[in-house]
Symmetry: C2
Subunit: 216 residues, 2 copies
DNA sequence: GGGCACACTAAGCGCTCGCTCAGCTTCGGC
DNA sequence: GCCGAAGCTGAGCGAGCGCTTAGTGTGCCC
């Protein structure tokens, strides 16, 4: 979709694809509320209130509260997948592409923590059909990272015995950033991204010198 | 408290410290329900029903639904801290102790996944006082792991630039096991524990030969 | 064997939830 | 300048929530 090779982890204000304006304001309000309190603890009155509207206005743009979560989750997963695909398909060694994938994926989870939190941790609140759709996207996310790891093993850059398990661990490490990252904490998303790229290269047994020129 | 050096990651059936019997049945039912649906989506009628009792029976043993979560969280964090302390204070090199800590911590998160899920992911549902108490325990957990990493760096076993950040990542990796681990999946808790111990030793830059004799 | 503490239940209170609906305002087309 | 569509609100419905209370059965002490 969009060229996501910008400066700091993505675009400045997302959700621009959601129209009309009132629908976007409601969706942004829902992201904040779900991230703060969780889907089940958030009321439709709270969402509407944050968007400066009455509770009934929500149902003009969305059929149910669950549809809001579904839309958020879908857009968020699309974005996450887009980030990983961009990193996976650029030129360079497997080590460079893995470092790029991890650092940009982590930057997104840290920098857009509210969104990432909803996307990664409120999946169970979706109904069976919506959950199945999202799980399919997650399998693509997994496949993208596993592909890089496999190529690194094939080329001799990496030393990995359990490719599936290590891929799972790498993604798990990145995703969990959304749980603990604190915007007011001592680290910027860029710093965490750089640290994590280095840790992941160590996990896959990349050579020391391959770890050095991992830019930002 | 208890000697937690048993066979596979802990005792066979926990919660034995909760008495009387009815109170324990309610608490176990609450753990299952909270893990499946989340705290806010779980009703007191559901908890009581799983325990084979009427909704009112819950309030004989617990003042509120939140007190149930508090008790679960407290006991679970005590257990997690106990596991890490046992590993941190045994004899051996920093690499051996870190591998032991990670593998037993991961075994607990995978093997007792329902409990771990509630303990690690429902913290925000607690009130301010209870949350503060639990956060103090988490800082102790963090300090225990950071201690091992620091000793490894001091002794020259490990090669770590950012001790705090790396410790955070190690714990994050272990904790997130509770989110994705599937009891019916292809891996046993022991296998995941062994894989993760190896990955963590790579993350801290332990020498190759120090990674080999990680028992269990 | 009478009295009482205790564990538990049936019923339901007050409240808030997700969601609906009748009606109001605004605005473009003609 | 009238009309209908669209966006939004105020009021409120039925349901289910956390929790309470009055009453019941049971077993232990003396």
């Amino acid at each position: 979709m969009s060229t996501a090779e910008e400066t700091t982890g993505g675009e400045i204000e997302p959700w621009e694809e959601v129209t009309p304006d009132a629908a976007r304001r409601l969706l942004v309000a829902a992201v904040e509320a779900f991230a703060e309190r969780g889907y089940h603890a958030t009321t439709t009155r709270d969402i509407a209130g944050r968007a400066g509207m009455s509770p009934a206005a929500l149902y003009i743009h969305y059929k149910t509260k669950e549809e809001l979560l579904h839309r958020i989750s879908r857009i968020g997963h699309d974005k996450a997948l887009d980030i990983l695909r961009t990193a996976a398909r650029r030129e360079g060694t497997a080590a460079e592409r893995l470092a790029d994938a991890v650092s940009s994926f982590v930057r997104w989870h840290a920098g857009r923590r509210t969104t990432a939190r909803v996307v990664q941790y409120e999946l169970d609140a979706l109904g069976p059909d919506a959950r199945a759709e999202i799980l399919a996207l997650r399998r693509q996310v997994d496949a993208e990272v596993r592909g890089i790891v496999q190529e690194g093993v094939a080329s001799g850059e990496f030393d990995v015995i359990d490719v599936h398990g290590t891929t799972l661990a790498v993604l798990s490490l990145c995703i969990d950033v959304a749980r603990w990252f604190n915007v007011d904490g001592p680290r910027t998303p860029e710093e965490v991204g750089a640290l994590y790229a280095d840790l992941v290269l160590r996990m896959v047994g990349a050579e020391q010198d391959a770890r050095r020129p991992a830019q930002t």
